[in-house]
């Protein structure tokens, strides 16, 4: 199945970014890529080729796609946006104090 493959590639790409990159903003971008991979996978798996889970006024279609994963994904997107904003805020403050956003050049964290 194609979406399993796409999920694997996207997720590992995000994991690679989080592990290998030293720039903190790139790490946040990697986290977001992993997040989006999961959302994509949940939506793609729940899609069975039926119509969207919204009733039409005149014709009441009987078969819908599963609405529960879509609601969960909406929740996840909101949480992801909040955490991303908070992480970027921490990076802004860190840049003000340490004058760098490179995780290798941060001093005073080792001892």
């Amino acid at each position: 199945m194609l979406h399993h493959l796409v999920f694997t590639v996207l997720f590992l790409l995000g994991l690679y970014t989080v592990i290998y990159k030293n720039n903190l903003i790139k790490m946040v971008i990697g986290l977001n890529i992993m997040e989006i991979a999961v959302f994509f996978w949940v939506i793609a798996v729940s899609d069975t080729g039926k119509s969207v889970p919204i009733y039409h006024l005149n014709k009441f279609a009987a078969s819908f796609n599963d609405p529960v994963p879509q609601a969960l994904t909406l929740t996840g997107i909101i949480i992801g946006a909040s955490t991303t904003a908070l992480l970027l805020t921490f990076i802004i403050e860190l840049n003000k104090f340490a004058d760098t956003i490179d995780s290798n050049k941060l001093e005073g964290l080792n001892e």
Binding site: M1, H4, L5, F7, T8, V9, F11, L12, L15, Y16, I19, V52, P53, I54, Y55, H56, L57, F64, D66, P67, V68, Q70, A71, L74, T75, I78, I79, A81, S82, T83, A85, L86, L88, T89, F90, I92, E93, K96
Partner: protein, 235 residues
């Protein structure tokens, strides 16, 4: 050597994931799942045509309350960290043509966001989605007209009022559910008109309006705090 080992680890992880996916069952194992219940009884129990909205604001309304609390906490943290001074620090904005064009376009963006918010139970959309469009207006003001214009039109106090007000609307409607039906966040059925009209689905549109203003104001606050601190020394 270390890179090689980590690459091997990644390939192994990919292999394991794909094996796991190959084991997934093709057909449904449960004959009557929760989703079938929502699809079967969602319209007659909530009156909302959009089943995703019905789940988010009726069946799982308490989860949405927690979700908006997460946004509230994130915005509070960002404001606490970033804004030591709430002064308007402005750029000059973009060129005259961009300003005029967005002056014409902005009312329509506001109209669209209000449409998405208020029709959340009928069409795709809802409070969260419309709120993000609402926040886009404030971001456009900050970028195109300069953040002093944004400060004058929508001051941080006004945004804070909208944010807390939206959260309060949500909690008050939940409390009214206790008062009338006996359960927190129960659907206020006496507001329900026939399904498919704008005033239907009980308390879902009201919660949508509260959430929409809350999310819009929250994201506008986040953007305003970041831009103020980041460009504070240059202008």
């Amino acid at each position: 050597m270390k890179k090689f080992l980590v690459g091997l680890l990644f390939i192994g992880l990919a292999f394991l994931l794909l094996i796991n996916f190959a084991e997934l069952p093709e057909e449904k194992l449960i004959t009557f799942s929760l989703s079938d219940y929502y699809i079967g009884f969602g319209l007659e129990q909530t009156g909302a045509l959009n089943l995703v909205t019905a789940i988010l604001y009726d069946y799982r309304g308490f989860d949405s309350l927690g979700e908006s609390t997460v946004i509230f906490a994130a915005v509070s943290g960002i404001v606490l960290i970033l804004s030591r001074k709430m002064l308007p620090v402005s750029s000059h904005g973009l060129s005259f043509i961009v300003k005029r064009t967005l002056g014409i376009l902005t009312p329509f963006i506001a109209l669209f966001s209000l449409y998405v918010i208020t029709h959340g139970h009928l069409t795709p959309g809802g409070g969260f989605q419309g709120g993000v469009i609402l926040a886009a207006i404030s971001i456009i003001f900050s970028i195109v007209y300069g953040s002093a214009f944004d400060y004058k039109r929508y001051s941080p106090e006004l945004k804070t009022t909208f944010e807390t007000g939206g959260a309060l609307v949500f909690i008050i409607i939940g409390g009214l559910g206790i008062l009338f039906d006996g359960f927190f966040l129960d659907n206020l059925d006496f507001l329900t008109h026939s399904p498919g009209t704008l005033i239907s689905a009980g308390s879902i549109p009201l919660i949508n309006i509260g959430i929409g203003f809350k999310v819009g104001a929250g994201l506008a606050i986040v953007f305003y705090s970041m831009i103020q601190k980041t460009f504070g020394e240059e202008f």
